[in-house]
């Protein structure tokens, strides 16, 4: 068998079929937390008001902060950092979390 023929066979063998394989939700959860932390290194996140104005839903805990009579600055921290949903989602692909508009719940559902 010629080297070219061997190359042809291997190329055929290694050719990829399209894959619709999705990433595990715990992986997405950890990557999301990492990217948010990276964003925070360059300044505060957009406030919850801005997210709502952009048409995004916010979770019940974020809602409590968003409607509180506090300044814009107080609405910029990454509240998920202290939420059990994040911890569970980062460690399990099917965490027992069900809050509406929680990004970690959405990773599980997507």
């Amino acid at each position: 068998m010629s080297s070219a023929e061997l190359d042809r066979q291997l190329a055929q063998l290694f050719a990829l079929r399209s894959s619709k394989e999705r990433a595990p939700s715990s992986l997405k959860a950890r990557l999301y937390s990492a990217l948010i932390h990276k964003q925070q290194q360059t300044g505060p996140l957009a406030s919850l008001d801005a997210s709502v104005e952009a048409g995004h839903g916010i979770c019940i805990f974020e809602k409590l902060v968003q409607i509180a009579p506090v300044g814009e600055q107080a609405k910029t921290p990454f509240f998920c950092q202290v939420c059990h949903a994040r911890v569970l989602a980062e460690h399990s692909d099917n965490p027992l979390i069900f809050w509406s508009h929680c990004p970690y719940v959405k990773f599980k559902e997507s």
Binding site: F14, K20, L35
Partner: protein, 198 residues
């Protein structure tokens, strides 16, 4: 930080407009848009990387994170002249090439070893009556059992269709050394392929 991304001819306006909105919101550090961005990008990158890091699944998360952070940093330069998916996969391709280059460069081949390397054109008996899915599964299984540099060299050559010259240039090896690495990798692959069959 607002992103100004022009719509290019041939792009569906709704699609582009959605991507423009998403990119602008991520640049504005909207946490919800960022979640959507991570969700989409990870699903695009995951199968791409899984097929290319079959020999080292343990490094996949680190590389995924590296790509995602690099994409976030480069996002202000995204002009929208290709889909966001192509753009992200372009970054992923570069990172994978970097990883392959580094690992293959580290693979020291002594002259003695080079001289005793097997010739590549051994009867490989690779064409067997396997359905496509079973064949893919077998290829992945064997790749994951090969020494890492062998698997990377084969994937780089046959999955990413790099020429031997390109591989040599990028990894800082001679073409001869790269040919020998490939010859050993092919031989090991062929042997395992036939062993699995028995």
């Amino acid at each position: 930080m607002a992103a100004k991304i022009p719509i290019q001819p041939g792009q569906a306006p709704e699609f582009v407009s959605d991507e423009r909105r998403l990119v602008a919101s991520v640049l504005g550090k909207d946490r919800k848009a960022t979640a959507e961005f991570v969700d989409q990008c990870t699903d695009w990158m995951y199968p791409f990387l899984r097929r290319r890091l079959v020999a080292r699944p343990d490094v996949m998360e680190d590389i995924l994170q590296e790509i995602l952070l690099a994409a976030w940093q480069a996002l202000p330069t995204y002009r929208g002249d290709s889909s966001l998916q192509s753009w992200i996969l372009g970054i992923a391709r570069h990172k994978i090439d970097d990883y392959y280059r580094k690992r293959i460069r580290e693979d020291v081949i002594s002259e003695e070893e080079e001289d005793s390397a097997p010739e590549p054109a051994m009867a490989p008996n690779l064409e067997q009556q396997l359905d496509s899915a079973a064949q893919q599964e077998k290829v992945q299984q064997i790749l994951s059992s090969l020494p890492e540099t062998y698997a990377l060299a084969l994937i780089w050559r046959y999955r990413d269709e790099k020429s031997v010259r390109e591989m040599a240039e990028v990894s800082g090896k001679t073409e001869k050394a790269m040919e020998r690495l490939l010859a050993r990798a092919r031989e090991d692959f062929r042997r395992r392929w036939n062993d699995v069959e028995r």
